[in-house]
Structures are given as structure tokens and as C-alpha cells.
């Protein structure tokens, strides 16, 4: 109370800063941007469902507002172009074939044999070769919330990549620790849909990680249903029900992570969804789902502007050389031909 009086006193004696009223000192959320790393680790036609899983999550996070430039999508096989796919260039996550999750604007960052443990760790820790383009990098900072979704075939303490190698839970935990030490995240939500999925997050030791897995150690995660038209299972149970939940989330939604953890009870999943919250500092009941699955930005209204003097063209031209090709300010724009490529002599 006394502090409030002091504050009002001090604002009243302001001479310059009186223009802006005492604004709130904090933003609504503690992160400024959202990233997503979505990984499908298995290949071959019979693992169609894993590709469908990851593409469905991709579609959801994109719908909820994370732009493609902030999504790293790793898909180990190209189901859409598989010769066994009766409907080429499509991937469906449902036998009803309502939504083609391999839609018009899917930007796969790492595909096929590029999806390796090494590349995945490189993306997380940022140890990529200098020639790697921006879109393939996780350029997060200490104010970024990151969603990490993984699917594939796993066992107790590992997730198989490409049938040739595997990432162990220790390696993953160490990678997250490296990210923490280099301040590459603010909070991580780790979601994994694989057999014995819980084992993957048991070794985590870095702060601010919230994790959910489709099954406990010793349990299998099962697929949801088969599409008789293509003869393979099209989606996993946990992801199916998670998507059902996410479909009802709108960008401004107030649904919480706690509600999300209740998705897919044992009766639906036939495996026990397991959650780890001890590393996470906030209460999942108060953490809204769009903190990870969307991108709700902080905003600040501009109450003041800079006062500039009109700087005429002559003034700036006298010091430096004038901009030569100024577009005409109004009226008809002159048309010109596009410049040709230089021809070899």
C-alpha cells in the first residue's frame, strides 16, 4: 500500500514520462516464441501410422499458430510417394480419409535417411555445419517454449531410428541439458508415442521440462485402427485421442496441460499414459495448452512515438549519394521486362 502511494507520488513528479500511465510491469506469459521439433523415427510402409502421427501433430501446431519457420519436421520415410500408396501424394490419419495430413503446405525439414540420431542431436544442441539453412535450425533462445514430439518403435530406454540405430534416454537427457546450459529453451514439453515410452523421459534431469508418454515401462503402445483400403494401421491410439483433444482447441483457448494429460485413459489407450511434472516449475493445472501447442504472443500497445522532423530528399541526398531508382509515388507504374540471366560468352 505504502509502495503504491510512493509509486503514484513518483509518477506525479515525472516530467517526461508522464505521457505513459503506469503500465503493467509484466507480460502475460514468460516466453516470447514457440518452437516445435516433430520426429518420426521409423521407415517402411508398415509404419505408415508413425508418419501419419507426426504429420497430424504438425498440422495441429501449425493450425494453432506456430509458423513453418519455427517447426523442425523430421519424417523418416515418404509415405505419400510410396509405390504401395493407392492414393499417391496423400497421407490420411483416419480410415474415413477426411483430412489429408500431407496437405498443400507441408515443409519437411529432414526426410528419409537424413533422419538420424546424430542429426536429431545436432538440431537440438545447435551443432550444425555452418552451411545449414535457417529453416533446418532450432534457433531458440532462453525465452522459447519448445514442443518435442517423437514417435516410432521404442523399447526400455531407447527409441529406434531408421531400423539401424537408436537414441537412448541418457543421450536425450544429455542433449536437453546441453540446451539448458546454452539457454536454448525456457520450457520444453516432451511428448512421445512409442512402446515403453515412459522410459525415454525417466533419465531427464534438466529443469523446466514437462513430459508425457503414451505408455509405462513394460507396456506396448497400440495402434488405433486399420484402413482396409491401404492395408496398414493409420494412426496410434494415444496420438489419435490427443488429436481429438487438440481439434477442439482454438488459438485463444484456455484449456490447460492438466486437461491434456487426462486424454486417452487406459480404457481407450490400452496402455497407461504417463506424465512427469517434477522438473516443471509451474502448475500444469494453470499452464495453458497454447503455451506449447500454439504461439500466443505477448503484445504491448504503443502509447508513444518518436518525434521526427521531416527529412526531405535533398537533405539526405546532400550527405550521401542519392538513392537512384525511386519508385514513382503515384499514378501509372512503368512496366519493364524482367532481367535476363547472364549468358555465358
Amino acid at each position: 500500500m505504502i509502495f503504491a502511494i510512493l509509486l503514484s507520488l513518483s509518477t506525479s513528479v515525472l516530467t517526461v514520462n508522464t505521457a505513459n500511465p503506469p503500465v503493467e510491469e509484466f507480460f502475460a506469459s514468460n516466453h516470447t516464441n514457440n518452437w516445435a521439433v516433430l520426429v518420426d523415427a521409423s521407415r517402411f510402409w508398415f509404419n505408415y501410422r508413425h508418419v501419419a502421427n507426426v504429420l497430424s501433430i504438425y498440422r495441429s501446431v501449425k493450425r494453432l499458430g506456430i509458423p513453418d519457420s519455427h517447426i523442425i519436421l523430421m519424417v523418416a520415410d515418404d509415405m505419400a510417394c510410396n509405390p504401395r500408396n493407392p492414393r499417391p501424394a496423400t497421407v490420411f490419419n483416419n480410415a474415413n480419409q477426411h483430412i489429408n495430413v500431407y496437405g498443400d503446405d507441408v515443409e519437411v525439414d529432414y526426410r528419409g535417411y537424413e533422419v538420424t540420431v546424430e542429426n536429431f542431436i545436432r538440431v537440438l544442441t545447435g551443432r550444425l555445419s555452418p552451411s545449414t539453412p535457417r529453416s533446418k535450425r532450432l534457433l531458440s533462445d532462453e525465452r522459447s517454449n519448445i514442443l518435442v514430439y517423437m514417435t516410432g518403435h521404442g523399447g526400455d530406454g531407447f527409441l529406434k531410428f531408421q531400423d539401424s540405430e537408436e537414441i537412448s534416454s541418457v543421450e536425450l537427457a544429455d542433449a536437453f541439458q546441453q540446451m539448458w546450459q546454452k539457454r536454448r529453451y525456457h520450457e520444453i514439453f516432451f511428448m512421445i508415442d512409442t512402446c515403453q515410452a515412459e522410459s525415454m523421459f525417466q533419465k531427464f534431469y534438466s529443469p523446466n521440462i514437462l513430459a508425457v508418454a503414451s505408455s509405462k515401462v513394460g507396456e506396448d503402445s497400440l495402434s488405433h485402427h486399420v484402413d482396409p483400403a491401404i492395408g496398414v494401421y493409420v494412426i496410434d491410439r494415444y496420438t489419435y485421442y490427443a488429436l481429438e483433444f487438440l481439434e477442439n482447441v482454438q488459438p485463444g483457448s484456455k484449456k490447460t496441460m492438466d486437461q491434456f494429460f487426462k486424454v486417452c485413459p487406459r480404457i481407450q489407450c490400452q496402455s497407461t499414459v504417463s506424465v512427469r511434472t517434477d522438473l516443471f516449475q509451474r502448475d500444469p493445472k494453470k499452464t495453458i495448452i497454447t503455451d506449447f501447442f500454439g504461439s500466443v504472443r505477448n503484445v504491448e500497445l504503443l502509447t508513444e512515438t518518436l518525434n521526427l522532423q521531416d527529412s526531405t530528399a535533398e537533405l539526405s541526398c546532400s550527405k550521401d549519394k542519392c538513392p537512384e531508382d525511386k519508385p514513382p509515388k503515384s499514378g501509372v507504374q512503368p512496366l519493364s521486362y524482367a532481367k535476363q540471366f547472364p549468358m555465358p560468352n
Binding site: S69, R127, D141, P251, L306
Partner: protein, 547 residues
């Protein structure tokens, strides 16, 4: 016959010993050497030491009194009180400030400057010219009450001059006022501390707006100006961005050129609309967004912005021209009033300005091509840029700042920027090196190239240099050294070669070597053992014979 067998056995034994010696003396070291992981020795102890360092930054202050009423005793008292005031309430933690003060009376040259100046800002410019004021050296000017330039509250000029007028007789009060203004506004100790803590990674307290908004220190930034023409078939707005950048942004980029590479780009997006429908106010016949919708309108547009090729932090500034149906479009604050600027900012991202252009009249030939007032646009964006770069002082200390106007950044603001970025760079680089050292110490399988060794060495060197320079008050040099440090340390930390041999765990080494070495080592060792036994036996025999 017995003798021959004996000779044969001797030969066998020597052969076995020979092979054993070759295996042990040449083979094992050779194997050890060739399979060794190449590791350059790193200055681990130096890195550990860096963490113990306490950052100290020096600031020079010269007080020049134009007040004739102040006698030498007053000046001495002022000097003493000012020192007390500046050393009081040191910022908590590992970081501290060190002020060097000098109080003196005006010279005749200076008093002629005062009498020839028409305004405070005029005097500010003249003093800057005379003293060739350098970074980190501030001049506190005490104006006499009799002067026509006397100021009510402290005034900070565009250069490094702070103007006071002594109102009361009490010198201690004046000293306190000077001390507080220097610490809070000019040097911005609190901002420096915040930058340091953010880089150090202490996240125990909720970050305030300043900390969230300020773009992290980086050797380069990409600034993109985008004009979003939502309905170019009706209103095809034109902007002279090239001229605007030349005229208004360049004073800032030129000043920062030495410290950060700033790339400026511009683009025009057509047929891109806000995905969130604005609310409609039927009474006033206008459309509006509230603070609830604003967070959601950035993302759909951002998806169309494209991204630059570099890995620098991006800052986006958008001018949005609403469609005919949405026009006029306003932003309303929490009290329901239309925002005068019609613009908002997203921390570490940039800003959006909604530019309402009147709809064309019924009989106009479409599209109309109105041009946008770039001065207004730049007034908004430059203010936002000052916020994002944390150049603007937003505190509660009562001071008058001479408006920066077209210079965009005042010299003392630039000093503040250098100071907090230098401290941030130092903290980040130290933390990076520590993390790297810890990682390399933990995992013995990681190859450390000569390149990495060199980068680490130079980073350590630059950090030490920067610490020293900062302490002595050479702000610019300290910043440049800290920038070198951060570039080197990041290069070492993110070097792709660090991951190359990581996927070769210890247990797999045994799996590879045992099938190779076991079949060889078994006969070698058993024959060596036999030879050893034979030597002992023959020794025993000869001894027995001698006896």
C-alpha cells in the same frame, strides 16, 4: 639327444620372448597411440577462474561548476558527498560499478561557451565539440541560478552532458540528486544488472517487460520492413521505404555499424489478410482489435513473411493496410479508447502498424495508389526499435531528456547499450566456455580439434582483456573484445566436429577389441609364462650344478 632338445627349447623360449616383447613394447603403444582420441589441451583452470571473476565497470564523471556562489570548500564537499552517493547502495551480486569523479570550477573558455549558448541543447553540442567527449565519460554541468539556461529538473543532453541547477543551499542534497541521476538514468545500473542476470541464466524471478522485450546481444541483426497490401486490387498503397531508411533509420544504423552488423530489407506482401476478424463498433462505424485478439494476429501473417538467409535475430516491422470491409481499423486499449499510434509491439519480434487509408470514392478507377506517410511510419518503428534495443530509458527518476529526434540515439544511450551488451556478452561467453569445458571433461570420447582449441584460447584471452578494459572504463574497446569473445566461444561450442565420434560408446569398444585381441594375446601370454618358468628352472639347474 638331450642336449639338442635343450637347445631347441632355448630357441623356442627366445622366440616366444621376442614375440612377446614386440607385442608389448611396440604393439600396445602403437595401438594406444593410433586409437587415441585427439584432444587439444584446453585452459580448464583459466575457464574455472573466469567464473570467479567479478565484473566491474568503470565510469568517469567530471563535474564542472558554473555557479559562482560555490566556493572551493563547497566543491570539495560536493566531491566528497558525490563519491559517497555513488558508492552507496551497490547493486547486489557479482557486478559492481566504479566511479571516478572529478569536481572542478569552470574555466574562462567554458564560461564564454555558456554565455554564447542560446539553449541547453546548444550548450550540450558545444561542450561536446570542445571536449571531444569519449565513451563513458560524463560531464555534469552545474548551471548558475542567474543564467538564462537554468533548468528545473536535471536535463540530459544528446551527448554526454547532464545539466543541473543548484536550487537549495544543501550540497549533500545536490550530490545525492547527481548520484541518483547518474546511477539510474545515465549509467542504468539496473539494466546492466538485468542483462547480466539474463545471460547468467538466473531465472528465479519473473522477468519484467524490459528483460523480455530486449533483443539478445548478437553480432548481427536482420531488420525487415514489410508493407502488407491486403487488397491491392482496390488500394495498392505505395511506400518510399528506400528513402525512409536512408533518411530516418540510417543515423541509427550508422552509429551501430561498428558494433553490430545490421541488415535492412524491405518487401511488399499482397493479398495477405488478418486471419482474426476484428470486432465492429456499429455506432462509430469502425472496426477494432482489443489486446485479446492482438496476440493471435501476428502468427498467420508471420507465416507469409519468409525468413532471411542469415542466422541473426530477426526484427520485423509491418505496415498493414486494411481491406475495404475492415476500414477503418483501430486498436483499442483496455479502457476502450482508440490507440493514437494504432501500433503495437511484440517482444523480440518487432511491431505492427495499422495504416488506415480512406476508401476510394465510388467512381474512382481502381486500384488507387495512395502513398503512405513514411515519416509517421518511421516515427512508430524507430520508437519500437529503441524499445527493442533497450535504448529508451523508462524509469521513475524525474529527468528531462532532450528529445533525440532525427539522431534517433543519444550518445549516452549508446553508451548504455554498449555497457549492458558488453556485460551480457561476458556473462554468456563465460557460461558457454564453462558448459563446454564441463561437457569435454565429462565425455572423454569427444575429439577436440586444433580449431576448437584455438577458439577457446582466444575467447578466454578476449574475456580477460574485456574484463580489464571494462574495469578501467574503456567501454568501446571492452565491448569489442567481448564481442570477439562471444563469437569465438559460440564457434567453439557449436562446432559440428564435437559430435562426430560421440556415437562410439565405451562398451562397444570392448565388443570390437576382444575378438581381435583375445586370440592373439592368449598364446602370447601363455608362451611368455612358459618362458619365464623355463628361465627359473634353468637358473635353478645351473645353481644346483655349481653347488
Amino acid at each position: 639327444m638331450v642336449l639338442l632338445a635343450e637347445e631347441d627349447k632355448t630357441l623356442h623360449v627366445y622366440a616366444a620372448v621376442g614375440i612377446g616383447v614386440v607385442c608389448l613394447v611396440i604393439g600396445v603403444p602403437l595401438w594406444w597411440k593410433t586409437t587415441d582420441v585427439y584432444r587439444v589441451s584446453l585452459p580448464y583452470s583459466d575457464i574455472d577462474q573466469l567464473a570467479q571473476y567479478k565484473i566491474q565497470y568503470g565510469v568517469d564523471v567530471t563535474v564542472i561548476s558554473f555557479d559562482e556562489q560555490m566556493v572551493d570548500a563547497d566543491l570539495a564537499a560536493l566531491s566528497k558527498h558525490l563519491m559517497d552517493s555513488l558508492d552507496r547502495n551497490p547493486t547486489p551480486g557479482d557486478i559492481s560499478s566504479r566511479y571516478r569523479t572529478n569536481v572542478k570550477e569552470k574555466t574562462t573558455q567554458e564560461s564564454s561557451l555558456l554565455s554564447s549558448s542560446t539553449s541547453v541543447s546548444d550548450l550540450d553540442a558545444k561542450l561536446n565539440e570542445v571536449y571531444k567527449q569519449d565513451h563513458n565519460h560524463y560531464y555534469v554541468i552545474l548551471l548558475p541560478q542567474t543564467s538564462q539556461l537554468k533548468v528545473k529538473a536535471p536535463v540530459i543532453g544528446l551527448n554526454r552532458n547532464i545539466f543541473f541547477t543548484k536550487e537549495e543551499k544543501d550540497i549533500k542534497q545536490l550530490a545525492d540528486q547527481i548520484g541518483q541521476t547518474l546511477k539510474e538514468v545515465v549509467v542504468r545500473e539496473r539494466s546492466v544488472l538485468k542483462a547480466y542476470e539474463a545471460a547468467k541464466g538466473s531465472r528465479d524471478q519473473k522477468p519484467d517487460k524490459e528483460r523480455m522485450r530486449t533483443v539478445r546481444s548478437h553480432p548481427g541483426y536482420d531488420i525487415t520492413f514489410t508493407l502488407v497490401n491486403s487488397q491491392p486490387d482496390i488500394i495498392d498503397a505505395q511506400w518510399d521505404i528506400q528513402h525512409a531508411v536512408h533518411a530516418y533509420l540510417e543515423p541509427l544504423t550508422k552509429r551501430l555499424k561498428k558494433y553490430a552488423a545490421i541488415n535492412v530489407q524491405s518487401q511488399v506482401l499482397y493479398f495477405t489478410q488478418m486471419m482474426t476478424k476484428p470486432k465492429t463498433d456499429k455506432e462509430k462505424n469502425e472496426h477494432y482489435y482489443t489486446t485479446k485478439e492482438l496476440p493471435l494476429i501476428i502468427n498467420p501473417i508471420e507465416a507469409n513473411l519468409g525468413s532471411p538467409a542469415s542466422n541473426n535475430p530477426e526484427l520485423n516491422f509491418l505496415v498493414y493496410v486494411p481491406t475495404r470491409d475492415e476500414h477503418p481499423l483501430h486498436i483499442r486499449d483496455d479502457t476502450g479508447m482508440n490507440l493514437a499510434s494504432n501500433a503495437f509491439l511484440s517482444p523480440r519480434w518487432g511491431g505492427i502498424y495499422i495504416c488506415n487509408i480512406p476508401s476510394p470514392p465510388q467512381n474512382a478507377s481502381l486500384p488507387v495508389r495512395p502513398s503512405i506517410d513514411m515519416k509517421k511510419v518511421m516515427e512508430i518503428f524507430l520508437f519500437q526499435l529503441r524499445l527493442l534495443f533497450n535504448l529508451l530509458y523508462q524509469g521513475s527518476t524525474s529527468v528531462d531528456l532532450i528529445p533525440v529526434g532525427n539522431t534517433v540515439v543519444a550518445e549516452w544511450e549508446l553508451d548504455g547499450w554498449l555497457r549492458s551488451h558488453c556485460v551480457e556478452n561476458l556473462a554468456t561467453a563465460t557460461a558457454t566456455l564453462q558448459s563446454l569445458a564441463q561437457l569435454l571433461g565429462q565425455i572423454s570420447n569427444i575429439v577436440i580439434n586444433d580449431d576448437i582449441g584455438q577458439e577457446v584460447q582466444s575467447a578466454v584471452q578476449s574475456i580477460k582483456e574485456s574484463y580489464q578494459l571494462l574495469k578501467e572504463g574503456f567501454l568501446e574497446k571492452a565491448f569489442l573484445a567481448s564481442r570477439e569473445a562471444i563469437i569465438s566461444s559460440e564457434k567453439a561450442f557449436f562446432d559440428p566436429s564435437l559430435l562426430e565420434l560421440l556415437y562410439f560408446p565405451e562398451d562397444q569398444k570392448f565388443a570390437i577389441y576382444i575378438p581381435l585381441f583375445l586370440p592373439i594375446s592368449f598364446p602370447v601370454f601363455s608362451s611368455l609364462f612358459k618362458a619365464f618358468k623355463w628361465f627359473r628352472e634353468t637358473k635353478g639347474l645351473t645353481k644346483a650344478k655349481q653347488e
